[in-house]
C-alpha cells in the first residue's frame, strides 16, 4: 500500500507547484504511470481521493496515462516491448532484457486556476 505515500507525494508536489507557479486550485491532473512502475492505478486513485480532500486539489480529476514497458535485449541488441520485469525477450526468448522505459511515475500536466 505505498500508493498512500505516492498520493501524499503527488499532493505535496501540487502544493509546491502552486507556490512556484502561482495558482490556488488544481482541477485536473494527468499522471504518467509506467507499466512496470509497480503501481496499481485503482489503488492510487482511491488514495488520491482521500489525501486530496481539503487541499488545493480537492475534487480534482486524476487521469492516468499508462506508459508501455520497454527493454533492451542484450542478446538481440535491440529495444523490445515487455509487460513485466522478468519477461523474456519476445524475439529470442532469452531473459537478458534490461528495463529502459515504462518504470516512471510522473505528474505530467495540470489544469489549474
Amino acid at each position: 500500500m505505498h500508493e498512500m505515500s505516492l498520493a501524499e507525494g503527488i499532493v505535496q508536489l501540487l502544493e509546491d507547484q502552486a507556490k512556484a507557479q502561482d495558482f490556488s486550485r488544481v482541477k485536473q491532473v494527468w499522471l504518467s504511470i509506467g507499466e512496470l512502475a509497480g503501481v496499481e492505478a485503482e489503488a492510487l486513485e482511491f488514495c488520491l481521493d482521500v489525501v486530496s480532500r481539503d487541499t488545493l486539489a480537492d475534487g480534482a480529476r486524476f487521469h492516468f496515462v499508462r506508459q508501455p514497458g520497454t527493454g533492451w535485449c542484450l542478446a538481440c541488441s535491440q529495444s523490445v516491448a515487455i509487460h513485466a520485469r522478468f519477461d523474456a525477450c519476445p524475439l529470442c526468448g532469452k531473459h537478458q532484457v534490461q528495463v529502459t522505459g515504462g518504470d516512471e511515475m510522473r505528474v505530467s500536466e495540470l489544469e489549474v486556476e
Partner: protein, 331 residues
C-alpha cells in the same frame, strides 16, 4: 487517527518520540493547523458532500451566474471554460517525478554520508528472513575495530534496536506506525540523532516488506535484498520490483538447506531473470558459512567510501592552496 485513511499525525516515531518538523504539511484534514495559501472559507459539510462543481461555485461567486452547473464541469478543459475574464484556468506542464520529494531527501542523505566516508546499505526483505540476526552477527564479526551504526525500521516496538545495541552497535529505532516502508526524510532525521562517525558502516534495516521499500531511495549506496532459503525459490519473480532495485541478494539460512527442497541455482537464476547484474552471496549467520565473504565485501566497500571522502578532502585542500596562492600574488 483519521477514520478515513487510517493515517494519523505523529504516527512516525523515532525512538518513541515524534520527530520534529512537519512531515505532512498538506494533511490538513488531520490537524487544520496550517495556513492555506488560498482562501478556503467554505462550509465544510457542503464541501465534503460535493467534491466537484458546487465547490467551485462557492469559491467563486462570480461564476455562479453561469448557473446550471454544467458550464462548471471539471471534465472540460481550459479551452472550453467559462466566460472570458472570469476564469484563470490554465494548463501547466510540469513533468515531475512523483517520488521527486523523496529523491531530493535521499540525495541530501547520500551527500551527507559521502562527505563523511560512511558506507550505507538499505537491507530489505520479507518479515522473518533473519535480517536482525544477520545484523547482530555481522556486528560481532566486524568487531570493535569497525564502527557500525544501525537504523531499525519497524511498524511498532523497539525490540530490534535493543537486540542490535546488545550486539554492541549504536542503533536508533524508527517506528513507521501505519507506514509500510522507511522514506528518506525519516532516515535523514534518524541520522541527525544517531550521528554516525566518519568512515563508519551504516546499516538501515527497512520494514519487513518486499513491495513498498523498493520504490523509496533512502540515500544508501546499495539496496541489499535478503532472502532466506525457507522462503520460495520464485520469490524474485513474485516480487520483481524489489529484486530489480537491489544490487545485492543475500541468500540466508543456508545451514537449513539439507532439510529443504530449496534449489539454490533456480533461485539465483530467477533473481538474474529480474536483474541480470545482481550480486549473490550465500551465508548462514548461525553456522557462520559464507559470513567471511560478506564481511570481506563490506570491508572492501567501506574502504572505497573512505577513499572517496579522502580524495574529496584532498581536492578541496588543493583548491584552498590554489586560492591562497592567488591571494598572495595580489597582495
Amino acid at each position: 487517527m483519521c477514520t478515513v485513511c487510517g493515517c494519523s499525525k505523529g504516527n512516525v516515531k523515532i525512538e518513541g518520540r515524534a520527530p520534529g518538523g512537519v512531515k505532512f504539511p498538506y494533511r490538513s484534514h488531520h490537524a487544520h493547523a496550517h495556513e492555506h495559501d488560498h482562501s478556503h472559507d467554505h462550509d465544510h459539510d457542503q464541501h465534503h458532500a460535493h467534491p466537484a462543481a458546487a465547490t467551485v461555485a462557492e469559491h467563486q461567486p462570480a461564476l455562479s451566474q453561469q448557473a446550471g452547473g454544467a458550464a462548471l464541469h471539471y471534465g472540460q478543459g481550459a479551452a472550453h471554460a467559462h466566460a472570458p475574464g472570469l476564469s484563470q484556468a490554465r494548463m501547466v506542464k510540469i513533468e515531475q517525478d512523483i517520488l521527486s520529494k523523496n529523491d531530493g531527501y535521499a540525495a541530501q542523505n547520500r551527500q551527507w554520508l559521502r562527505d563523511r566516508g560512511i558506507f550505507a546499505l538499505n537491507l530489505v526483505s520479507s518479515p522473518g528472513s533473519g535480517k536482525t540476526s544477520l545484523l547482530a552477527e555481522t556486528i560481532r564479526q566486524l568487531g570493535h575495530d569497525t564502527l557500525v551504526y544501525v537504523v531499525e525500521g519497524d511498524q511498532q516496538t523497539s525490540n530490534d534496536a535493543e537486540r542490535i545495541r546488545a550486539a554492541g552497535a549504536p542503533a536508533i529505532q524508527i517506528n513507521t506506525g501505519k507506514g509500510c516502508h522507511l522514506d528518506a526524510h525519516m532516515v535523514g532525521q534518524a541520522l541527525e540523532q544517531l550521528n554516525p562517525a566518519d568512515d563508519s558502516l551504516l546499516l538501515i534495516e527497512n520494514v519487513g516488506n518486499l513491495v513498498c521499500p523498493a520504490a523509496f531511495d533512502l540515500g544508501e549506496a546499495h539496496k541489499v535484498a535478503i532472502l532466506s532459503v525457507t522462503e520460495g525459490e520464485d520469490k524474485p519473480l513474485k516480487y520483481p520490483d524489489m529484486f530489480a532495485a537491489a544490487d545485492v541478494m543475500l541468500l540466508t539460512k543456508i545451514d537449513l538447506l539439507r532439510h529443504l527442497d530449496f534449489d539454490v541455482d533456480v533461485c539465483i537464476a530467477n533473481a538474474r531473470r529480474v536483474n541480470p547484474k545482481i550480486k549473490v552471496l550465500q551465508l548462514s549467520s548461525k553456522s557462520g558459512d559464507g559470513m567471511d565473504l560478506w564481511i570481506d565485501w563490506l570491508l572492501l566497500e567501506m574502504n572505497d567510501a573512505q577513499l572517496v571522502k579522502q580524495r574529496e578532502v584532498a581536492r578541496l585542500r588543493q583548491q584552498i592552496a590554489a586560492l591562497e596562492q592567488q591571494l598572495q600574488e595580489r597582495s
